[in-house]
């Protein structure tokens, strides 16, 4: 069997040229899954047979002189909140256990059209609500770097799948940091583009005005390649931005000379020293590479948590109302429809989901709307405006992605707020609708990966990726979890 490259770009190049067989690529990844999935639990379902058949079709196309596309033969781990026709899609919730959507999400269609091969549906915090993947109804995912620790969340399954070498690419969704935080904790690249960059059609909504889909990859180049494939206007999503995006793969080598990198001086405190140390090293490296470091203020940044934990649950309380046992999914039988609703939803949703539905319903209810939801929308505007001012002075902003490295299971205890604070650095860009990405930048405590977050203004993915690529070039070499734990292939 030919050695299978780790990057999606190299795999696709090999498969397109005929020097690499997609079936071998798939087998190599299935072998790694067979080897370690038992301890990691990255997937809710592994699509071994479908992946093999898909790979064979890709190879046949190449043999016939065709081009399967820029992701030819690349195995993809899909977060299990994206609809896949005929394939169970659960959101890691009992309420959707066994549900097979009758349609594909737009990203799923685009990936397939680019020659990618779905290898499995990955675990998540139920309905993407959480920062550790501990809230899955099907059990937690473990961090491939240290299985006593969480992979982050909510897209922990996709992050872990990429870190463990189960797939070169994972797709996640990011409502308040659900791509970037697990990417940081798992030592991979995670990008959340501008709101409206990637279609949300077929993504099971958590908070509609915040949700965005993005990739997990091992390289910044792969991240750009994936966004080039899944980005772009979709007439099925009214909030999809109707402009053509310039390919991001073309900007990676431009360097950062002359770019203004913002340091937020009034950033909320609380990041661990090992994380802060890596952030400082990143500033130094970028300065070294020719960028200027500029101090900026984003005073409303610290109010992000409050605004987010009112707006997201409010939207979620409405988005999750459709899980009522009438048309699909779980139903708990009862003597009348109203009782059936309450019993079904009580049995089908986990604690965190119920908590957020309660919080969101309360924030929208008569007498409280103005004090909570209404005020949160105003704070959102302040955050947006503060960012806009900062981006007049700086091209991108650099922050920690997560306040700490991967933490042990159960360490956030019973206090939901402690878990919510995990998202303090990632949330504001969701509220503003701005792009953000996490790039691995060495290790912190216990040799665990640390990510640095690059934030940019609306639709300025190009600059964000230039900086991300520069960081990757000067990042200290880190032993990958795959190398660390060996591989069956």
């Amino acid at each position: 069997m030919t050695a299978v490259p780790t990057s999606a770009a190299a795999i696709a190049a090999g498969v397109r040229s005929g020097s690499l067989k997609a079936v071998d690529v798939v087998e190599a990844h299935l072998a790694r899954i067979a080897d370690r999935e038992g301890e990691i639990h990255a997937f809710n379902v592994v699509l071994a047979d479908r992946a093999r058949a898909g790979a064979a079709a890709v190879d046949a196309m190449v043999a016939a002189g065709g081009d399967p596309g820029p992701l030819a033969g690349v195995p993809i781990a899909l977060k299990d909140n994206m609809c896949t026709r005929g394939i169970p899609t659960t959101c890691s919730s009992k309420i959707l256990d066994g549900w097979k959507p009758p349609y594909d999400a737009t990203v799923v269609t685009k990936l397939a059209a680019a020659g990618a091969i779905a290898i499995g549906k990955t675990n998540l915090d139920e309905f993407a609500m959480g920062s550790s993947t501990e809230n899955s109804a099907f059990g937690p995912t473990r961090n491939p770097h240290d299985t006593s620790r969480v992979p982050g969340g909510s897209s922990g399954g996709s992050a872990a799948a990429v870190a463990a070498g189960f797939a070169p690419v994972g797709i996640g969704s990011d409502t308040g940091g659900s791509i970037r935080q697990p990417a940081a904790l798992c030592g991979v690249v995670g990008a959340k583009p501008t709101y409206g960059y990637v279609s949300r059609y077929g993504l099971i909504a958590f908070a509609s005005s915040l949700d965005q889909i993005g990739p997990f990859t091992t390289t910044v180049h792969d991240s750009a390649l994936l966004l080039d494939v899944i980005g772009g206007h979709d007439p099925m999503d009214s909030t999809s931005i109707p402009v053509a995006h310039a390919p991001l793969t073309g900007v990676l080598d431009r360097g950062v000379k002359g770019l203004r990198i913002g340091r937020i001086t009034d950033l909320p405190a609380g990041a661990d020293p090992d994380v802060t140390e890596r952030l400082e090293a990143a500033f130094d490296a970028l300065r070294e590479a020719g960028a200027r470091i500029i101090d900026v203020q984003v005073p409303a940044f610290s109010y992000g948590l409050t605004a987010y934990y009112l707006i997201a649950p409010a939207e979620a309380s409405s988005n999750l109302a459709r899980f009522d046992g009438v048309r699909f999914g779980l139903r708990v039988d009862a003597l009348d429809t109203n009782t059936m609703y309450s019993a079904t939803r009580a049995a089908g949703f986990g604690d965190e989901v119920k908590r957020r539905i309660m919080l969101g319903t309360y924030a929208l209810s008569a007498g409280y709307y103005d004090a909570y939801y209404g005020r949160a929308l105003k704070v959102r505007k302040l955050i947006h405006d503060d960012f806009a001012r900062a981006y007049q002075d700086a091209d991108v902003l650099l922050t920690p992605t997560s306040a700490s490295v991967a933490f042990p299971f159960g360490s956030k205890g019973d206090n939901p707020l402690a878990m919510y604070l995990c998202d303090v650095y990632t949330i504001p860009s969701n509220l503003a609708g701005h792009p953000g990405m996490s790039v691995p930048f060495g290790t912190g405590a216990d040799g665990l990966p640390v990510g640095v977050q690059v934030l940019a203004g609306t639709l300025d993915e190009a600059t964000m990726f230039r900086v991300g690529a520069a960081l990757e070039r000067c990042a200290p070499a880190v032993t990958s979890a795959v190398a660390l734990h060996g591989s069956a292939s």
């Binding site: 059609y201 009214s238 309380s317 009522d324 048309r327 929208l364 709307y369």
Partner: protein, 490 residues
């Protein structure tokens, strides 16, 4: 409703004990689009259950709404026809659980509706304010199985069909300017005529494509408006009047006996002719309205709005006036109303342009074109010829009717040729006079009665003449001869 029975709309109905009725109407109309408001499933009445469905219609996880441009255009057309201000608008989510509401929220316009501040003029000229006319999606349909008569109470279970879910609706909310049940009926009839004329909806109450809720209150003139009750489940214009009258009496009786009217939603029961409490204000759900994050605002440009206004066809009131003037029939005569209702007024006018008689054409169209749409199959030219023969005395009204029946059945035809083939020729008057005299001689009893002024007797004599002439005689001429003979009596 009959045109003759119109109450003077300016009259303010005074109820018992001096109470005054105040009514506002909320009319929902289904728009005549090919697809739903937010998805590409067919908007079609009467299909097999759950066949016009898609992820959006069913509220499946991950589905997203995309707004139907034509629905927006039709909503704007309604706004233009009701002389509303057409403005930038947004959609909200109205959150409530009900099995025929797939997402457990309805997408509806809330504080920024597309149309505001319009009006509708009742036939008598009274102007009724339109507060708003906004876009929203329809629900699915529940059928209650078991129990008695398909009612929700006592049913064993319910079955849901989502074909109607997501069908575009415009809700037209009047100001509380209506003062009688008859005004309410006139309002609904006029609104219906407008909606049909502008192609916005077929507005059929019996098929549910037009639905009407009435906000009814009573008060003493000069005092603030009373507490209102919303009456639902009114399924015809006739029921609307009955429901309002019943509800007004109920409220007056309550107040007169020292009670108070509670704000509540009441259900009209067609069978017992009463309204019943459906839910009180205290039971009202908390809808938790918030801006729909999956949709973006509608901001119609000034050019678009102007184009919609410019493209508006002539409205029923103006068309009635035009036809009335051209035909000499009153604007609210049954013939004029029927022609406008069926959209056949342009056709009648075309008969006139082709040299035909508009008055006769109007009568023929009313009687013979009930099954024809706005573009009758009979060429206007053919009807023009028929009316000409008629006015020229070449055909009697009865003969013309017979000839037209053949023309309509064949989708056209030469009236003169058909009349000739039928052997129709108008009798000359001298021949007719002798037939009349024979009829008088044959039935002296009728003659005596006729001379005494009994209408029935005249009918018997005319009938005898018609029988003798095989219908060829012109009824008017026969009557004239009979009157002549009577006048010549010593």
């Amino acid at each position: 409703m009959s045109a003759g029975a119109r109450v003077d709309p300016r009259a303010e109905q005074v109820l018992e004990y001096g109470y005054q009725l105040v009514v506002g109407l909320e009319v929902h109309v289904e728009l005549d689009t090919a697809t739903k408001l937010f998805s590409a499933s067919a908007n079609r009445f009467g299909d097999d259950p759950n066949t016009n469905i898609d992820p959006v219609t069913l509220g499946l996880p991950g589905a997203l709404p995309v707004l139907n441009r034509h629905a927006v255009e039709l909503a704007m057309r309604i706004g233009a026809a009701l002389d509303c201000t057409i403005q930038p608008s947004t959609f909200h989510r109205k959150n409530y659980f009900y099995p025929d509401m797939p997402k457990a929220y309805q997408i509806s316009q809330y504080d920024q509706p597309i149309n505001i501040d319009g009006h509708l003029d009742l036939p008598g000229g009274k102007r009724i304010g339109i507060e708003r006319a906004h876009l929203e999606e329809d629900t699915g349909k529940s059928t209650h199985v078991g129990g008695s008569g398909g009612r929700i109470h006592g049913s064993d279970h319910s079955l849901i069909d989502f074909n109607r879910a997501g069908v575009p609706l415009v809700e037209i909310v009047s100001r509380p300017d209506l003062r009688t049940a008859d005004e309410a009926r006139q309002y609904v009839n006029e609104l219906r005529a407008i909606l049909v004329a502008i192609g916005a909806s077929d507005a059929k109450m019996e098929e549910g494509s037009m639905r009407c809720d009435a906000n009814v209150s009573v008060h003493q003139p000069g005092t603030p408006l009373g507490t209102r009750c919303e009456i639902k489940n009114v399924n015809s214009v006739r029921s609307l009047g009955r429901a309002i009258d019943y509800e007004a009496r109920r409220q007056v009786d309550l107040l007169a006996s020292g009670g108070i009217v509670r704000q509540e939603t009441r259900h009209w029961d067609e069978t017992d002719g009463r309204t019943h409490t459906l839910r009180t204000k205290e039971d009202a759900d908390d809808y938790r309205y918030f801006l729909e994050p999956d949709l973006v605002p509608i901001v119609p440009s000034a050019e678009w709005i102007q184009a919609v206004r410019d493209a508006l066809p002539m409205l029923p009131a103006a068309r009635r006036a035009r036809l009335s003037e051209a035909s000499g029939s009153p604007a609210y005569s049954e013939a004029v109303m029927a022609a406008i209702d069926r959209g056949q007024d342009a056709y009648v006018l075309a008969v006139g342009h082709l040299g035909g008689d508009i008055g006769r054409a109007l009568v023929h169209v009313k009687e013979a074109y009930a099954e024809q749409g706005p573009s009758p199959t009979v060429p206007a030219q053919d009807l023009a010829l028929l009316t000409t023969l008629e006015v020229d005395g070449k055909l009697t009204a009865t003969q013309a009717k017979a000839v037209l029946a053949e023309i309509v059945a064949a989708g056209g035809g030469d009236a003169a040729a058909i009349a000739a083939a039928k052997g129709f020729e108008a009798m000359d008057n001298s021949a007719l006079e002798s037939v009349v005299d024979q009829a008088i001689a044959a039935d002296p009893e009728a003659w005596v009665k006729f001379c005494a002024g009994e209408g029935k007797a005249m009918g018997a004599l005319v009938g005898a003449v018609m029988k003798a002439t095989g219908g060829k005689a012109d009824g008017k001429v026969v009557t004239a001869v009979l009157n002549q003979r009577r006048a010549a009596q010593p």
